[in-house]
Symmetry: C2
Amino acid sequence: MENQNKEEEEQIVTPWEVTAEKGGKIDYDKLIDKFGCQRLDQSLVDRVARLTARPPHVFLRRGVFFAHRDFNDVLDAYERGEKFYLYTGRGPSSEALHLGHLVPFMFTKYLQDAFKVPLVIQLTDDEKCMWKNLTVEESQRLARENAKDIIACGFDVSRTFIFSDFDYVGGSFYKNMVKIAKCVTYNKVVGIFGFSGEDHIGKVSFPPVQAAPSFPSSFPHLFSGKDSLRCLIPCAIDQDPYFRMTRDVAPRIGYHKPALIESSFFPPFRFHDGETGKMSASDPNSAIYVTDSAKDIKNKVNRYAFSGGQDSIENHRKYGANLEVDIPIKYLGFFLEDDAELEHIRTEYGAGRMLTGEVKKRLIEVLTELVERHRRARAAVTDEMVDAFMAVRPLPNMFS
Amino acid sequence: MENQNKEEEEQIVTPWEVTAEKGGKIDYDKLIDKFGCQRLDQSLVDRVARLTARPPHVFLRRGVFFAHRDFNDVLDAYERGEKFYLYTGRGPSSEALHLGHLVPFMFTKYLQDAFKVPLVIQLTDDEKCMWKNLTVEESQRLARENAKDIIACGFDVSRTFIFSDFDYVGGSFYKNMVKIAKCVTYNKVVGIFGFSGEDHIGKVSFPPVQAAPSFPSSFPHLFSGKDSLRCLIPCAIDQDPYFRMTRDVAPRIGYHKPALIESSFFPPFRFHDGETGKMSASDPNSAIYVTDSAKDIKNKVNRYAFSGGQDSIENHRKYGANLEVDIPIKYLGFFLEDDAELEHIRTEYGAGRMLTGEVKKRLIEVLTELVERHRRARAAVTDEMVDAFMAVRPLPNMFS
């Protein structure tokens, strides 16, 4: 029983479960220590800005992407004139994406534009088929639907290869899966992922599938003869366990360890004690979906976005808002690009001179514009475009 | 310690280990009971002869293939006019095959000719890469070399598809791997195959790879729209665990259970106490290789084939040979096709009227002819022929 209580108090972060410790807050410093990754500090942000000759992305300068592994090495190599490739992905478990799902793709698009590098995007329809008990066909349908949302983020088709595992696994990719699997014991994956003996062997077989894109030879139509090419993976930190495993294996099969740049979790609505966990797709009111109408957004923000404002106008004017727990402020931190305006709102709201309603009104504007823009972009994504992104082909502008 | 002694006494038959019980003999009746398969009795042999309008293969009428699962169902369907397909395979771990390796292929060729059905042959280069710690390249090279020996057995290219896992896994095949893996827990594969936590996850991932060819949809270029097609697997009985698992899964993913027809193990030379285990490729004197010269064969048979003859000619004339432990008699049982001659030798040798030297002389003739014939056939197998058998294509004469 003691053990159980202890577990309940500890935060749990795996690719399938994010549970905050008692108190409801994810302790990201503790996570960095536990996982053994590095904090992405200001000097590194400055270095990115210098190397790319453009301002760092909002998600970088505001610490959404807050941790990394060997990102410095990738930048060292880049500075010497060596390019790299980007790898990110998505498990297509739901039709409509919420804003949290877009975060890694928005950031990856920035990295692609800033560094002018190729990008592979893995849609793990096999994973979702196994974990969510979807049929193969339904997983593949969702993968294609999700691909449209991803493409709508603005990726450059001349530098981007999107693939579904069910379509693409085989050949050199499968050979790398086997090479990886040979280097990882069952006890090891139990230690990393917490599988049990009653879990099906599909789960045990999957980590090499997510690891394989970290190695350039998995994509012979892209990186033939470029085995020493480095890989940089932007992802949420809950995916770190896959890549810890991958990094252990890499030198044993003759590759660089993939570098990582890792984000915190996107905060859900309806939370009353600061930030916790990932936004969940299961409660539609806890998230803004890319399919939400302006009316939906207005309603959700006004009704469900937890406010750090005081319970009366008098108290609010007197004490100011608690920005630490205020969801609208957090969301503006993600999506309001103007630093000066954000700072202004934080100051005024924190001092009680600005009211919750005003902050929410601004958030509704920002989100509505973002969602409308995404919806227009997605509507313009044709099946032919999806086919073009997913075609197994060389990428013409890969390193230019 | 008691437990350990008990284990040492029990026979162990898995795809990777065949150990006889104390006394050195594999008890095939016990194996049938333990595995839960059925004995292939005379009435079934007669039925095959009747249905195919040709004499049953030596391996069938002499009980080399001695057990089965649902072979009767396949024949029932065949009698109703429903065809089936054959599936067999090989783990390409060594360059030169010995005669024991040829047994399933010789028998499968007979089945293909007799029933006029398509055949898929899986070369599990991925398995051998993982179990034997071969490189991917070496496993693939061995697969191709072994394919030449298999083709030399006389398969009909218009009805036969040979594939290497490293080349072929992907698409519908991979989808079936995932569907299968979803239905099998880790505890289950530990129960069936005896994996331990220190085994690498490649081993845990492999059973679905060997299971997938049992389902027609794994081969869309062959069996598109024929999901109800039955599969018959000729194999040595040590492969039974894979297909027990496969048969458990089959109805859950919408397919017939594959039927099996299973052989005993091929006896090695240099064995002094009857038959045991499989012929091992590790001791070159324990086996006749398809690359052996006439001189090698003569030398091996004379020096290493354990004889059941008595220690002096006087005693031999008096007591006769012990046919139960006599390796030349066992080998003649596999490869001397003339029933009358075999019976004559058994009678004369058993009664002491024929000497060991005479029996060995006849065996040397039989084996030399077999190996020479195989060598000539193999020498005629060109790289183009290998490519033709391994091409992903429809099979023109599949069911005619």
